[in-house]
């Protein structure tokens, strides 16, 4: 897919730097075109928040899976074929009527790749990382999420080795839905904790 790009002249200083680096690594035998391609393709084609959404929907319909997810999220992900780098250790944290969870990495941009894919730019941005640990309600309001004053907000700063995913509450009015239909309600933002699933509002 990149044949075209790698033969065109770089359009930005970043693109030039990246191309120069790839050139040096390839010429030294330290990188291979197809290994890089394989990773790009994986994130562009296969790995993304649809994976996490399947886990959430499964947990909503299958109480035993929900238990396994909350006890060992990496194991529960592996059951559906998801796992690997940035997801060897995972933990799912469950929203309840009394507790709302939000995920951040203040020091870096740690994120559970195998189940949520590449983090969005805002998740990696200084404003989110600086503010959400200190004033989560203000940040959530900017995302359109207003929580009741009695809800405890738990902000998980995942700067170590455990990657977090939020297990949202199943919304009202979804009783007749299939697991696949439920999964469509579960957006990336719901699993980061800056949104909650809404019927008819999925991405």
């Amino acid at each position: 897919m990149t044949e075209q790009h790698r033969h065109a002249r770089p359009k930005s200083p970043q693109e030039l730097r990246a191309a120069a680096l790839e050139t040096v690594l390839i010429e030294k035998g330290l990188a291979s075109t197809d290994a890089i391609d394989a990773l790009v393709d994986a994130f562009e084609q296969e790995i993304g928040p649809q994976n996490g959404a399947r886990m959430v929907a499964r947990a909503w319909v299958d109480p035993a899976y929900r238990e396994r997810l909350l006890r060992d999220a990496a194991g529960a992900a592996a059951e559906l074929g998801f796992g690997g780098a940035e997801g060897d250790h995972m933990r799912a944290v469950e929203n309840t009527p009394d507790v709302h969870n939000v995920i951040v990495c203040t020091l870096c941009s740690c994120y559970p790749w195998p189940v949520l894919g590449i983090p969005p730019v805002w998740y990696k941005s200084p404003p989110y990382r600086a503010r959400v640990v200190r004033e989560p309600r203000a940040v959530l309001t900017e995302f359109g999420l207003e929580l009741g004053p009695d809800v405890e907000v738990r902000v998980w700063d995942s700067s170590a080795e455990l990657r977090y995913i939020v297990l949202p509450m199943r919304p009202e009015g979804t009783d007749g839905m299939s697991e696949e239909e439920l999964a469509e309600l579960v957006t990336r933002d719901c699993m980061i904790g800056v949104a909650v699933p809404r019927v008819g509002a999925a991405a």
Partner: protein, 217 residues
């Protein structure tokens, strides 16, 4: 270390600007950088190389520019390549030369396998010193090098929420000298109003910390 990356609780930043329908990579070069970072061996210290960036440079460049900087910095520091080699390659690319291609099907298979379930390493260490419910205090003097303990926790008191099986202390593991120091680690809960003057009602901040980051209260 108190680098620019240590952003938790810092003030003065504006709104969080979210983009609709964002792709995994905004430009092809970002995907190339991601792929190189995961597959090319240029030595340890991925995060520390980013943490050492000059603060204004850190704030005014993008995530994948940080990654690019990390690969370049480590490659140079570990003797994998030189700045001159990078500059010479950039000159050739700018002149219209294509990026060379190199096929390695085995490496491609290994790369894809990194993003599939795989066995976890297990480590042995001394038994954990703290138990769930214990009050603990974060040490005040944090490492000047890489650390997984955010600066906003220095000297803070929290409560152990979960105890995890031993893992290498990454402060040491990423320090590029090969030492591995497995320790018990913990998820620790901090009431936000013990960290900062915060909005009401207060919230809870939970952080994963190693035994080296903690002392009993």
């Amino acid at each position: 270390m108190d680098g620019m990356h240590d952003l938790g609780g810092r003030q003065g930043f504006g709104r969080v600007e979210a983009e609709r329908d964002e792709p995994p990579f905004h430009e092809p070069w970002e995907g190339r950088v991601h792929g190189m970072s995961e597959t090319a061996e240029v030595g340890p210290g991925f995060r520390h190389a980013i943490e050492r960036m000059e603060p204004a440079a850190y704030l005014t460049t993008s995530y994948y520019e940080h990654w690019l900087e990390s690969i370049e910095t480590r490659g140079v520091e570990h003797g994998v390549f030189t700045r001159e080699e990078l500059a010479a390659a950039a000159g050739r690319i700018a002149a219209g030369e294509p990026v060379p291609q190199r096929s390695d099907p085995e490496a491609a298979v290994a790369a894809r396998a990194m993003l599939r379930p795989r066995p976890k390493s297990t480590y042995t260490a001394a038994p954990p010193r703290h138990a769930v419910g214990d009050r603990v205090t974060v040490v005040r003097v944090l490492p000047s090098g890489h650390t997984r303990c955010p600066g906003y926790l220095r000297g803070a008191q929290g409560v152990v929420e979960r105890v995890h099986a031993p893992m290498p202390l990454l402060d040491v593991f990423e320090s590029q000298d090969g030492r591995v120091q497995p320790e018990a680690w913990y998820t620790v809960a901090f009431a936000a109003d013990t960290l900062w003057e915060v909005e009401r009602p207060g919230h809870t901040v939970l952080v994963d910390l190693w035994e080296s980051h903690l002392e009993a209260t």
